[in-house]
Symmetry: C2
Subunit: 236 residues, 2 copies
């Protein structure tokens, strides 16, 4: 049975945070006299991501949106690099890089094909305003922006997946989660959703050699090379 | 100062409920042996709308979405016409007419122009799944679908306008409500939003003669003949 709606993880699955953050952080910080390995900087910032929201998932902290967490995490990474504090407008600009990440080359065209047949919704940890800004920047068109804002919670908390299905007036079993992260797909499957793993071998940058194919360890309903392959497999 | 986002009423302002409900109800009910004045039927169904959500606005009833209210109101209108109860699948199909209303002739093109400059969000009493289905049907593209679902409340309750601004991470004064209903614009203005009245002289059907121009009684920041005129006035 085909799903009635597709739910998309966004950071890493639809857009390239690694390449965009490295490039845009360099553009903002080099004029301020900062020189860093920008790809390492992007990874260091992203590495703070899950540790920063897990206290919220565990109920140890009340909901704060991703701008708040990205800002806290940035200050931590800059301090760890021994850099002086940057001024508030520059910090705000750096945080807003995450609102305008570039799509993977297949994302816009693949999504267009998928959307011709299926309602396609974001179920991301990014809040609604961030997702809306990113969609405008990247040329992505969504049926609904769901995820952390309606649930006031972060994936992999089950409330995020269940709220998304509820807003679409669908059973979770009629929804398919599309992601390149296995913990996201496993949490979705535990809520009853179908799952599609999309390979994004360069999410954390290019690997040595050409052989790295990013195949998942777990089992999912579909495994796709990219969004066009997903569209092919779903009969779009 | 131009607004930072435009918030749209939908039923009557973007789409023609009167013409679509009359046509589609006839298509569904005439094969069931029902003959009615279909335009009068559409108006009678719509006339039940505000009385049905006002108990929710007043806190006398907990939130129920527009499918629930449309269904209750339909059964009341059919009973008032002396018609026998229709079977459940047909009632569900009738209720779903409100998910696939046709846009006014200027709506899709005008919205495209407005959206090139401003984030454009629905702030409608329709729930998210209804609005998403309507957008697909009508070819409308929105930045965010806000309104009754995030607020779990109906306009003109102030929580609907305030929640919409909050999800956009904007002050209410940076948002402009676009509607053809003066009570909607007045409630938005009381929350601090800017207001744009759009003339929809045929929302309740064609009037006698050509002179009916549907000018508002109140004062709003903008008064526009249609969405293209609004785009002109906003410098799009």
């Amino acid at each position: 049975m085909p799903p009635s709606a597709l739910f998309f993880d966004v950071f890493g699955t639809v857009v390239d945070w690694h390449g965009t953050v490295a490039r845009e952080a360099a553009l903002l910080l080099e004029p301020a006299g900062v020189t860093l390995d920008w790809f390492a900087f992007a990874k260091a910032w992203r590495n703070e991501y899950a540790p920063s929201f897990m206290p919220i998932v565990k109920g140890e902290r009340s909901y704060a949106d991703l701008d708040v967490l990205h800002r806290e995490n940035l200050l931590r990474v800059l301090a760890a690099e021994g850099l002086p504090p940057q001024d508030a407008p520059l910090v705000a600009e750096l945080v807003h890089i995450w609102h305008r990440l570039d799509p993977w080359p297949d994302a816009v065209g693949g999504l267009r094909r998928l959307r011709a047949r299926f309602p396609c919704c974001t179920v991301s940890n990014g809040h609604a305003a961030l997702m809306a800004a990113m969609a405008r920047h990247a040329g992505l068109e969504w049926d609904l922006i769901l995820g952390s804002e309606p649930a006031q919670q972060y994936k992999p908390h089950p409330r995020v997946y269940r709220t998304a299905a509820s807003w679409m007036r669908l059973e979770t079993g009629d929804c398919m989660m599309v992601a390149t992260h296995e913990n996201d797909l496993k949490a979705a499957a535990e809520c009853g959703l179908k799952t599609a793993y999309v390979c994004r071998p360069h999410e954390w940058g290019r690997r040595d050699g050409d052989g790295f194919d990013d195949m998942p360890e777990g089992r999912y309903d579909l495994v796709a090379r990219d969004f066009h392959d997903l569209a092919d497999q779903l009969g779009c």
